[in-house]
Symmetry: C2
Subunit: 411 residues, 2 copies
């Protein structure tokens, strides 16, 4: 199966799935440090070998920031990162000053192991909140991972950052730019505590294209907004979300600002991150079916709020799970998003079948609607009065497995 | 078991559980009109026999208002209601002009049956959204219910408005006021699509005390804010929420504004509505355990947002279900409620056991915490920097049964 396996994220013509392997100038490795489960990879290390490597980063907006987010945001040169050290099994969040010390120890250990200054080392953690992360174990894991660095290490790195993820989220693409061919790869994790604004979600992206820091920042910023910022598993914003783009320049292909190269690379990055984001939704804890809601009309904040309310409604999500085309719950969610807004001239379609127009039910083929609701990907369109605004959110269904996973996570 | 069966809602000393039966001046009845399931009560009628009966009403804030809400809000004298006609099995929402005609037909049928002008008739519906309500069936049900009116009809009225409710939510209290003894009764329904701002929730309240319209409005408004507005089953705002207080004055006890009588009656109404609200949470679709989160400190909007985020977090709710004292999810929810607010000086206790202080984990007795998490009612306290503000929300857990109920509702 191709990486681009959704009608919602077509593969651009100039992009090809290269299977696995990091771009030139990158190596990765992983180790089992007994943070998650003994014998399972839970510490990963990613190194850019280019001395002049360039980077960009985005973090969670949460008011409760994990120690690794604080250490990376406040103690590194975010546009010149060359190393990422990550662990799963423990988020190192709500751990206070002691937790920050552990995050700094991770930076120092990874910098020493890779021969890079600590202010060019990002750290990232994911897992349980409020439990001390063992500094000795995690730094020993980093050293062990450093001994295992290789070009094909994206596979182990991806495995090392998984928590409740049911499958690996990773891609390695070749991208044909006007100025030459480059590689673009990414490793992501995320299955729960997802939304809004890209959530318990880590994503590391690499390219051997040469980008100025401003270009890297622009591309990552735009593409994160169109991908990880547009998904919801459970409406929960994480303490640890981190997305990092690193550029080695090792291909020799320079991507100049406002060039055709930048446009094409941006298209590739956009498709890559949207597909990874959709994979996170598909892997939403216990998820079976994926929904996409597109709200058109109204002003932008209203369209945005409506899309989020629909995507996060447990009633809509449970109906999606049960293949129940209960569009009344879509109407109800939109009503919640627009308090005191009655009467709303509300249109609703499910998989292209109009079910509600101007706020009232319309006649439709019930059998066709029921059949459409059984697909793996269900699209809901909501129309509001006025035009111009548009907002989309991808979301998972709400299943028994979600409850099972989340009722029994720490105990 | 006494009606007041929670440590969170003590019974005021001057209030006594009278079992069942409406206050003097009220009669109710119900009928099986084949709107829900043939043979099951699904239409209820409530009549105040006092020509000078006084009332007050509150409705959902949803931008998608059901036809009965529009008909009641826009076509009646809300301070002089004498009749309520209600049905379950169909919300008559998102049904357009045709739906409004049905709601008006219900008003007219109920007014004619009770000998009251239609502008003194409230209508209320609950059930599936977006399906036409059969006018003939529901008006025939109203006529049949009118033939069955009696003082003990609160029992049948309560039954007739239930949808996914697992148990009846009803009380009949005697209240000792300084000026004499009065009766206070209420019938409520609600189990899903609950929050914020009192949600798929109907509640009819009656008293034989004599109140001015302004007093009735004040008492209902304050008490709704402290009860149905403080609960969440699934964070969903309904299209149909309606709360109506009716006063017959038949006891001859006058409740003057700013009197000791008003204070005592207010205390009784407050306890009554808070207990009914808590019963709705307890009956949250599939609910097993009930949570109460109290946020103290910060400013009022922040405390409010934090309490709502905790109460609506599917992760917190799933942990509550699993008796898992995973307080990291409380911290994460608060972090979501205060974006860009880091670092938060956040304190958390669960059942009085401190688990987090100043944003970091503190040592606690894990066995004691685990034992406390297995109770039927779990209290979470969140402290923010600053003081003065306080917000509470009662919420249900997230169970497998919630998913089962909501994945298979219409189909």
């Amino acid at each position: 199966m191709s990486f681009f396996a959704s009608r919602w994220v077509p593969c651009p013509e100039h992009v090809h799935d290269a299977g696995e392997g990091l771009p030139a100038g990158f190596r990765a490795g992983a180790a089992a440090a007994a943070i998650k489960t003994p014998g399972v990879l839970d510490v990963g290390l990613l190194v850019c070998d280019a001395e002049d490597g360039v980077s960009a980063a985005r973090f969670t907006r949460s008011g409760v920031l994990a120690a690794p987010v604080l250490a990376t945001r406040d103690r590194t040169r975010l546009h010149a990162l060359r190393v990422v050290a990550a662990n799963s099994g423990n988020a190192n969040a709500a751990t206070g000053d002691a937790g920050l010390e552990v995050a700094i120890a991770m930076q120092q250990a990874a910098g020493a192991a890779a021969g890079v200054d600590a202010d060019r080392v990002a750290v990232a953690s994911t897992g349980v909140i409020g439990v001390a992360l063992d500094a000795e174990r995690v730094t020993a894991g980093i050293e062990q991972a450093a001994a295992a660095l290789h070009r094909g290490g994206d596979v182990e790195l991806t495995e090392a950052i998984m928590t409740t993820d049911a499958f690996a989220k990773r891609a390695s693409l070749s991208v044909d730019l006007p100025s030459g061919s480059v590689r673009l790869s990414a490793q992501a994790k995320g299955a729960g505590m997802i939304e809004p604004a890209f959530a318990t979600m880590l994503c590391f992206v690499q390219t051997d294209a040469a980008l100025a820091p401003e270009t890297a920042d622009l591309l990552l910023g735009v593409c994160v907004k169109r991908s990880f910022d547009r998904i919801s598993v459970d409406g929960q914003l994480s303490t640890n979300d981190t997305a990092i783009l690193m550029c080695s320049g090792a291909s020799g292909v320079e991507v100049a600002p406002e060039s055709a190269d930048e446009l094409r690379l941006g298209e590739a990055l956009d498709a890559l991150l949207r597909m990874l984001a959709l994979m996170i939704v598909r892997d939403g804890e216990g998820a079976g079916r994926t929904g996409r809601v597109v709200v058109r009309g109204g002003d932008q904040p209203t369209a945005e709020r409506c899309a989020r309310e629909v995507a996060n409604s447990p009633l809509v999500k449970a109906a999606l799970h049960g293949a129940d085309p209960n569009w009344g719950r879509i109407a109800q969610s939109v009503g919640k998003a627009v308090p005191y807004g009655a009467p709303l001239a509300l249109d609703i379609t499910i998989e292209g079948i109009a079910v509600c127009r101007d706020g009232a039910a319309v006649a439709y083929d019930e059998q066709a609607l029921q059949a459409a609701a059984t697909g793996a990907e269900i699209e809901y369109e909501v129309g509001l009065a006025g035009d111009g605004a548009e907002a989309e959110v991808f979301f998972s269904d709400l299943s028994h497995e979600y409850v099972t996973i989340n009722a029994e996570y720490t105990t």
